[in-house]
Subunit: 592 residues, 2 copies
Amino acid sequence: MAYRAPVSQMLFSMRAVAGLDAAIEGGLYPDLTTQLVAQILEAAGDFAAERLEPLNRPGDLAGLRKDGAAVRTPDGFPKAYQDWISGGWNALPGPVEHGGQGLPILVNTACVEMWNAANMAFALCPILTMGAIDAIEAHASPDLKERYLEKLVSGEWTATMNLTEPQAGSDLSALRTRAERADDGTYRIFGQKIYITFGEHDLTDNIVHLVLARLPDAPHGTRGISLFLVPKILPDGSRNDVVCAGLEHKLGIHAAPTCTMSYGEAGGAVGWLVGEENRGLACMFTMMNNARLAVGVQGVAMAERATQRALDYARERRQGRTVAYTGQGMVAIAEHADVRRMLSSMRGLTEAARGICFLTAASLDAAGRAGDVEARKAAFERASLLTPLAKAFSTDIAVEVASLGVQVHGGMGFVEETGAAQYYRDARILPIYEGTNGIQAIDLVTRKLPLSGGATVRAEIARIRASATRVTKEADERFGALGPRLREATMRLDEATAWMLAALAEGRQDDVLAGATPYLRLFAMTRGVACLADEALAAKAALAAGETDPAHEARIARARYMAEAHLGETEGLARSATAGAAALPAADALAV
Amino acid sequence: MAYRAPVSQMLFSMRAVAGLDAAIEGGLYPDLTTQLVAQILEAAGDFAAERLEPLNRPGDLAGLRKDGAAVRTPDGFPKAYQDWISGGWNALPGPVEHGGQGLPILVNTACVEMWNAANMAFALCPILTMGAIDAIEAHASPDLKERYLEKLVSGEWTATMNLTEPQAGSDLSALRTRAERADDGTYRIFGQKIYITFGEHDLTDNIVHLVLARLPDAPHGTRGISLFLVPKILPDGSRNDVVCAGLEHKLGIHAAPTCTMSYGEAGGAVGWLVGEENRGLACMFTMMNNARLAVGVQGVAMAERATQRALDYARERRQGRTVAYTGQGMVAIAEHADVRRMLSSMRGLTEAARGICFLTAASLDAAGRAGDVEARKAAFERASLLTPLAKAFSTDIAVEVASLGVQVHGGMGFVEETGAAQYYRDARILPIYEGTNGIQAIDLVTRKLPLSGGATVRAEIARIRASATRVTKEADERFGALGPRLREATMRLDEATAWMLAALAEGRQDDVLAGATPYLRLFAMTRGVACLADEALAAKAALAAGETDPAHEARIARARYMAEAHLGETEGLARSATAGAAALPAADALAV
């Protein structure tokens, strides 16, 4: 039941949904061809399947070993990491001037999916490094860039993000880690951070910690937070005053260390300021779109892997017979209607989420690469709008799909040896970290809907409507109710959006927040099925052009199924999104 | 964050939903008063909270130890079991003539919920014993009853159900375990069974295995299966030829042994026939309503426990501020709209599932106790109809609620020490065992809808409609849209039911099976909210009568919230239920 990197489907989605061809033709991706993209994805898929996947279950079983101050990753992880960076995979999206390959985020997104599908615990580490590269590149002094970027881009060193403290999780204004100015222009950091992913490990010689802390004279709240770079090993080769004080015992990702980090227990950890004093949160926000997208992609990865494993099992496992079955003995359970329904939802939700992630990635690329300022701004706002959808929807469906994957396996799903249970455990972190999905929903309604006075969201809805219209115009019976259902859902999204914008304008913050999560799901489900509709249209065109790949018929069937089976939920979601805060029982009422 | 047995809510639900008062007045429960029920529940709740809950996390951590042929349960389990049976708790629902207390299934159902909420791994063992008691009582010879029932009723011995084999899971026609007739009227059993819960343990001296096996001259398929009683210790005190060959390494319920059992490796395990030869499956079906209800109740238990823990955490954990908050510092996260929404759904889904389980239990009581034959038949059919809802809906929502419970905890939810993750792991078995939820849905549409030519299901829908009408008539603005939403959902259920009955009549088996799962959810969600509506009406009456318990206002708010936030999904469910098999992609299309 080995992992098969879905390279041709990814490429198809990049072209049909995320505009890869147009981006290449428009000069956005210089030196890139679809053929080259395919080659890169094939090579990444091979590495993922052959080198990372075999370490996944052993890593889950072995877990981590704390050995004094050191943390030992499972057997095979250090070697695999060295091979992975030697292959240039860490440097793929990195800036060319610091040794990176400067490839588009879209291409890297597909690679990130494959690393994570094969071994999420392993692949989590570079996500943090890539986020740190973004922050350092955008905000650090030339000196710091010179000293750290090249080795982070190559992957010779890794990086961490230190935000959370016991009393400061979703609300960073409460954080207490403090920074003191030293005479030499550096700082001394004191405090404890929790949930630091790969805060300590044996993959590399050095680890670069980005730490949020407060200066003695800083203003209260989030406007008094600064960002510091605190390396494990100082430039002179000595050990900095930072240690891993403990590892969490977690539900999943057992091979990824989640550390409590102690700074300054022996006089102060040496740190360098990144960006300006008291502007640390803004620096962190710079990289948030990318990091949140990456977590969304982890969701796609878990969903893809769980779907593949369930499908393999369902095609092999035989139980009972179906009405249509005329063969000997029992039929593969994949033929049973109820199992087909589960597998169809798993596959469809996964593809919808991937479409959203690819759209987000392509928008980020355009935001950084488009020729004129207006286009860059529009693309950046589109990426900003789509990012909470990519993060929250993909990770919510990852948990749902992983749970369905266990169900398809029946009793075998509850037994750890099949591997289905590991995805169910691993995936559960995704709706939580990098901003809980509740925080994503709040971000969507309070910060993203108002972008350009609502024009950004309205443009997105117009694109969805255009997809629905194109489907309807085809009047192809293979599309079933795809057109009408998508049009209906778009209308609901449009109305709920107008309601949200009005509520924001009227200052009805409570009403907006009460509906944020169902609104996000309504938006993402509609956006996701529109991605599938675009794929179905492209598949139809390919069939008409004489292509015979059976995947094309499958794409049409998938879009239809998702519209008919999943867009129905948009009615209830639209109602909940616009019900207002008065519809929610008070917290007191829940306690009796 | 200790478990608080929800005794007053259970009692309220028994009265407002499950007709406890009428059953007592009508003589169905002789010698019972609501006061006595309350006392029993209080005592059970105390035992659960004080003796079982403290062993739950230690048991999860310690797991089981296989020691040669023996299986050691975690520290404290054997003692707790002895105390539990000494308290008479195992004997609560058992037949009086074999030492049981003969209490109603409804009362025992509430107790089963409490044992499982406190410690599901522990509480799983007696569920199997109670199922075996039902089967032995209904089908075994007087001699076998004499020899085994008293000790199973007291709990001095436990029992197991041996159905599954590697190649025979949901489809038992494929089973291969064989039975040979011996000269003395006993049988010799040979074969291997898997997933045998508490197949071996150290809680009791003897274990009574009920084993499905095939006689040499048995017809093929399920009509050639016989049921045998195979004790671990033979009547002469010697060890029978049955051993635990291995334990599964599972996602959850780590303290409950899941055994591979080998029969007859040393000449044949001695077994006694239960019921007639080749009628074993019918004997198993006898106890299935009860056992499936019990698993549904485990779902309610997990949901209740996860809700309590999330609520406790959310009331303690402080982050950020709300618009309404005027206090110092940060606000409890239970005040945030998005967290309130999660907690409201957790609480509402739990209560809806409990209502369905109580209704099912009361119907089973009436089926066994009502005065005239017609009433018993009607009650039995009602219980048969409700059982798949009780099993599948309660266990599906258990997984959803446990997952929301993790989410409410944020990062702490992914860390095992908070306990939220254990419920997420433990609950995942519930939609699988005792007939997967897909099997439940198939049972509902193909076997339960046709009962009495459809009159049974139509009567149930009429009851739901009556609840909706009563709510609407009250015209109480505290009910919000409860009346219209429930009426709308009832109409959808009615139409989908008519579609199902027509499809069955026309022999469109594939269409029926394709919609079975969404139909079950549509039915259960509507039935569950109708239970909450009945509670809201009773709560309103109690307030009008001068009662001041704040729980009454909460019941009204809960019913309203569930109708407004969750009945919307019935639109999509009704569509999916009636979409037919053609709407499902073919299995081949999923593989490309």
